[in-house]
């Protein structure tokens, strides 16, 4: 007895059909790496070192019954790396812009992060604003409604989340994917252009990890 070839071979039944590229940006220490870790490993890293470079993580999710592979780039937040990390924005389908609700300065810098994002990504890149560390209500330094207002003014989707408790983390990543998916379905995004940050699997099909010709993994900082 065995699963015969025929029984399960309808194309793309299990594996993902899209790849979305995300970037996570924001000031240092706001919790970008913790958010990524929480999303990929469902764990909190209390002593997360500063990211000096660009970390990379993947996860396959499902949106409207379609499997999507998220390819997430977590950038260094330190100001001195700003010039270098800018080269990672290109071709992002989604940008998670993070600030720390307990540190006002990280909120104040959002406009500069937003400028970079708008300048360096395509017009359809979905920008999602995350106010992180919502578990630290006692030390709150940025009110929810003012951030909400900022988000509305700039056409961003917004949640407060906690990389520690995991609250709203999954939601932020998934909502972004849904929005991107919607953009594809609406014809706003062309899945065949590299700038879109979206790859449709039919297009040659990404090769596997460890295969140098592969397209479903990071390759160049440009």
């Amino acid at each position: 007895m065995g699963i015969s070839c025929s029984q399960m071979s309808s194309s793309g039944q299990y594996s993902y059909s899209y790849i979305f590229k995300y970037i996570i940006i924001g000031d240092m220490g706001v919790g970008k790496s913790c958010l990524l870790h929480q999303f990929t490993e469902q764990k909190f890293m209390p002593d997360c070192p500063h990211t000096i470079g660009v970390e990379f993580g993947t996860r396959i999710i499902e949106v409207h019954g379609e499997k999507i592979k998220l390819q997430i780039w977590d950038t260094a937040g330190q100001e001195r790396f700003r010039a270098v990390t800018r080269s990672y924005y290109r071709g992002a389908a989604g940008a998670l812009m993070v600030y720390d609700i307990t540190r006002r300065s990280t909120y104040n810098h959002l406009s500069s992060w937003l400028t970079d994002t708008k300048n360096l990504t395509n017009p359809n890149t979905v920008i999602f604003l995350i106010g992180n560390k919502m578990d630290l209500e006692g030390s709150r330094d940025v009110r929810y409604d003012e951030a909400k207002k900022f988000a509305e003014e700039n056409d961003l989707i917004f949640v407060e989340a906690s990389a520690m408790t995991g609250e709203n983390v999954e939601q932020a990543f998934l909502e972004t994917a849904k929005k991107i998916y919607q953009n594809i379905k609406d014809g706003k995004l062309n899945a065949n252009m590299t700038e879109s940050g979206v790859q449709h699997k039919e297009r040659g099909g990404p090769a596997s990890l460890g295969d140098s010709s592969s397209s479903d993994k990071p390759n160049c900082s440009c």
């Binding site: 699963i3 299990y14 270098v84 099909g205 596997s208």
Partner: protein, 851 residues
């Protein structure tokens, strides 16, 4: 490959080979598949890594499936699974684009073997590898995916991964399917279903009576009916045109007489001339039927007409594949060998399309073979047969049954079983009676109509019998009832398992991303000086599970992966897990980059991007403080410097460099540094052999550098050669050559005319002109001593041509600037300068005033 080549006998050749990766658990490793041919006859398949892992005969036990994620479009990944005697290996074809050729060869090999009448001797394959057992336990790899899920760490062959021999699998459909297949037991269960097989040679009659006695005799309604007819229509039309009204008549009769306890759906009807097979499945179960395909084969007149032969239907019922074959084999008592042959032709010719490779009868979990097989009773007196049968002593008669005998001898239906026969022979009766054939021919009774089966999980129920009450034909219909287990997916469990597998693959992918640690992210070099290299070591340790290829990569707008004052050795490399790599970072400010640092256009500060192939990037910061030097200063700056360079602030220097003011009143008409050096050579070097040709000592050049930068009052240190070299270096380190780039074209054009050359020089910015003429005067003086120093004008002109008219760094990198072009250019530069070595140009000189 080599190991195979060595073992090839002279009559063995490699037909085709392909690079693959073998999927084992969550890992994959790279292999080659090789198809071998011996004697232009037998073929075998080898699975090869460094040595041969498996040597498999491509015989009747060999099976393979192609699983391409987009079969039609010929792109995407191609996986093939090869099974041999129930064991299975999954291979990913690399690259997929070339897989077709290999797969076609494999198909041909299988097709060829299926046409063979006898089994081949495959012992020749043993010399490659004795292993034909595909179980991977032999290789220390546990295949049980369920265990892998529970206890991941224990079963990952980490040492193999570390060696790079294995890599984690990727989330591909085929891989997931394979993983799911490995733990089928965990989300499937078996369910017994009742399968009703009926066969009847109706001798061309129409259904003039109800068939309920035949088709509706069980208490519970069967789940599946497969009903076969032979000699449905004996007319010429049916034979020649394969068209007959009988098809519809019998279909209606059958449909009416199915068990009334259930509603049935007709799944498929297939007919070839008089052979017809219909499959019905109980309505609810019918939804789980998939991939229904049928095929027919004629073995009658001329070996191919449809008066004899077989028709077949295959389908998947949930996870179990079923195949039903209805055949009418050759007639006449003595023709049992023809019957055997017919069987083999049907078994090997029936081919179900829609699969790659097409499936044949044997590729099914359960096979039910029914029909008028036409085997007779031999070597027994007719009267005795009849007597024994009347006494119910079927066993004695059955000993003379040709089918039993041929089956026992292994000549036909090997692997098939048949239930015990407790019923009267089904042939040959006088129509309308239960009496044996009373015609002239008085044919002997025989069990012509039979049902055999093959496969696990099939239980023959006691009901294997004929139905005497149906008398319209000279044959009696036969039924065989089976209770067969089919495997059913528990969708809830299945989804859960699938989720687990997906999660695991995600995890494997993240866990097997390349990981490294660096001992330092920040490198600080203090007190860097011109021409003094300093190096530090960056240690990259592979702390991950997989081998890492690293490379320092360019940032977006940069032309190189690091600044030109930095060297990274090696800038790319490969590190095994647990290993490390020392990377040397060498900072060296030389004549190419000094001016940019002096002017502030560049500084000793760079962020390197260390990229891990297939993974993350790390940033490495390199910084340093540079002790500025007159090397790299422009002529304009130097003439304005009335104190040693060290005594002015870096900002002041930057300001000077940025303004490069040639008009304002300067302290000197030529830079004092140049004057010092030239003056020294004038005093000490005029008679020196090979001046400017002989290199100086690097250590002395550094001393001279310090002497100039600090404005020392000591005598100039070092030999005249070192002083000469320092002079050249000073001229070469400026941002622009003495004759600015924008005039170079004009200079080359003018090189044949002294007058034009003079015009260009007179148009130079004041300080450049002064320095140029000053140096040329000195060179004229030098050449006037050629008797002693052995220098000649041509050599000096060539050397200084390259310095005064130095190419821009950009053109030096230009690959289109070919050798010959460069030579011509060099010659023209030399002629340009040469004019000023042999002519009196005092008319160009404005008075030099050194204060």
């Amino acid at each position: 490959m080599n190991s195979v080549q060595k073992l090839l006998s002279s009559d063995e050749t490699i037909i085709s080979s392909h690079e693959v990766s073998l999927v084992q658990g969550w890992m994959r490793s790279s292999k080659h598949l090789i198809i071998l041919e011996k004697n232009r006859d037998l073929r075998g398949l080898l699975v090869v890594s460094e040595t041969v892992d498996y040597a498999l005969p491509i015989d009747s036990d060999f099976k393979f499936d192609v699983d391409s994620e987009s079969k039609s479009k010929n792109v995407g990944d191609v996986f093939i699974s090869i099974s041999y005697q129930k064991q299975k290996l999954l291979f990913e074809m690399l690259p997929p684009s070339k897989a077709n050729t290999f797969i076609n060869e494999l198909l041909r090999a299988m097709e060829y073997q299926s046409r063979r009448k006898t089994a081949g001797d495959y012992s020749w394959l043993k010399k490659y590898s004795k292993k034909t057992d595909l179980s991977l336990e032999n290789q220390g790899v546990v295949m049980d995916a369920s265990k892998l899920l529970l206890d991941y760490n224990e079963h990952i062959p980490r040492h193999s991964v570390a060696r790079g021999a294995m890599q984690p699998v990727a989330a591909r459909d085929s891989v997931i399917k394979y993983q799911m297949g490995m733990m089928e037991d965990q989300y499937t269960y078996t369910q017994g279903i009742q399968i009703f097989i009926g066969t009847w040679n109706v001798n061309g009659q129409s259904p003039s009576c109800s068939l309920s006695d035949w088709l509706s005799i069980t208490t519970d309604p069967p789940h599946v009916y497969a009903i076969g007819f032979q000699e449905l229509d004996l007319s010429k039309e049916a034979f020649l045109l394969n068209e007959t009204p009988k098809e519809g008549e019998w279909l209606r009769a059958v449909t009416k007489s199915l068990h009334p306890g259930a509603v049935y759906k007709e799944i498929c009807l297939v007919r070839l001339v008089g052979m017809m097979l219909i499959v019905f499945v109980e309505e609810n179960l019918a939804q789980r039927v998939d991939h229904v395909v049928c095929d027919t084969v004629g073995t009658g007149f001329m070996g191919k007409f449809g008066n004899k032969g077989g028709v077949a239907i295959r389908m998947d019922l949930e996870m179990t594949s079923l195949c039903f074959v209805n055949s009418h084999l050759a007639a006449h008592t003595e023709e049992y060998e023809r019957r055997n042959q017919d069987f083999h032709v049907i078994a090997s010719s029936i081919s179900f399309n829609g699969f790659l490779p097409p499936k044949s009868i044997k590729d099914h979990d359960q096979i039910y073979w029914l029909g008028d097989l036409n085997y007779r009773i031999t070597d027994l007196d007719l009267m005795r047969v009849k007597n024994l049968i009347n006494q119910g002593q079927y066993e004695t008669v059955l000993e003379h049954d040709q089918l039993k005998r041929q089956h026992d001898l292994g000549h036909v239906f090997s692997g098939y079983k048949e239930g015990p026969i407790h019923f009267r022979p089904t042939y040959k009766y006088d129509v309308g009676t239960d009496e044996w054939d009373s015609s002239e021919k008085a044919r002997a009774p025989a069990w012509c109509d039979r049902v055999l089966y093959r496969g696990e999980d099939i239980k023959q129920l006691v009901d294997y019998k004929s139905i005497p009450s149906l008398k319209i034909s000279d044959h009696k219909p036969v039924i065989a009832l089976f209770n067969s287990d089919i495997r059913i997916i528990d969708m809830n469990k299945y989804r859960k398992k699938l989720e687990e597998v997906m999660k695991r693959l995600d995890k494997v992918e993240n866990e097997f991303l390349p990981q490294v640690m660096v001992d330092m992210n920040d490198f600080n070099f203090d007190t860097l000086r011109f021409l003094e290299a300093q190096s530090k070591t960056l240690i990259i340790a592979n702390t991950g599970q997989v081998p890492v290829r690293f490379e320092f990569i360019k940032k977006c707008d940069d032309s190189n992966y690091c600044k030109d004052w930095l060297r990274i050795e090696p800038y790319t490399g490969f590190i095994d897990p647990g290993d490390k790599c020392d990377v040397k970072l060498v900072v060296y400010v030389d004549k190419r980059c000094a001016s940019k640092i002096n002017s502030g256009q560049d500084k000793i500060s760079d962020i390197l991007v260390l990229h891990l192939e297939g993974g993350k990037d790390l940033f490495i910061t390199v910084q340093g403080t540079y002790e500025r030097s007159v090397f790299g200063c422009s002529i304009e700056t130097l003439v304005h410097l009335n104190v040693p360079l060290r005594e002015i602030s870096p900002d002041k220097l930057k300001e000077l460099e940025r303004s490069r003011d040639s008009s304002s009143v300067s302290t000197y008409s030529v830079p004092k540094e140049i004057w010092f050096l030239v003056d020294h050579l004038y005093r000490n070097g005029l008679k020196q052999q090979n001046l400017f040709e002989h290199p100086g000592l690097p250590s002395e050049v550094l001393l001279i550098r310090n002497w100039l930068d600090t404005g020392s009052t000591d005598p100039i240190p070092g030999s005249v050669h070192s002083v000469a070299e320092s002079l050249l270096l000073l001229l070469e380190s400026t941002a622009e050559p003495l004759i600015p780039y924008n005039l170079h074209e004009a200079c080359l054009t003018a090189s044949t005319s002294y007058l034009q050359c003079k015009q260009i020089i007179s148009s130079l910015p004041l300080h450049s002109k002064n320095v140029y003429l000053y140096l040329c005067s000195f060179l004229q003086e030098l050449l006037s001593h050629s008797d002693e120093n052995g220098l000649d004008g041509k050599t000096i002109a060539t050397l200084f041509g390259q310095i005064f008219l130095r190419d821009s760094p950009r053109s030096r990198n230009d690959p289109s600037a070919r050798e010959r072009v460069n030579q011509t250019k060099a010659r023209k530069k030399a002629s340009f300068v040469y004019h000023f070595l042999v002519n009196d140009f005092s008319d160009l000189i404005s008075p030099v005033h050194v204060s």
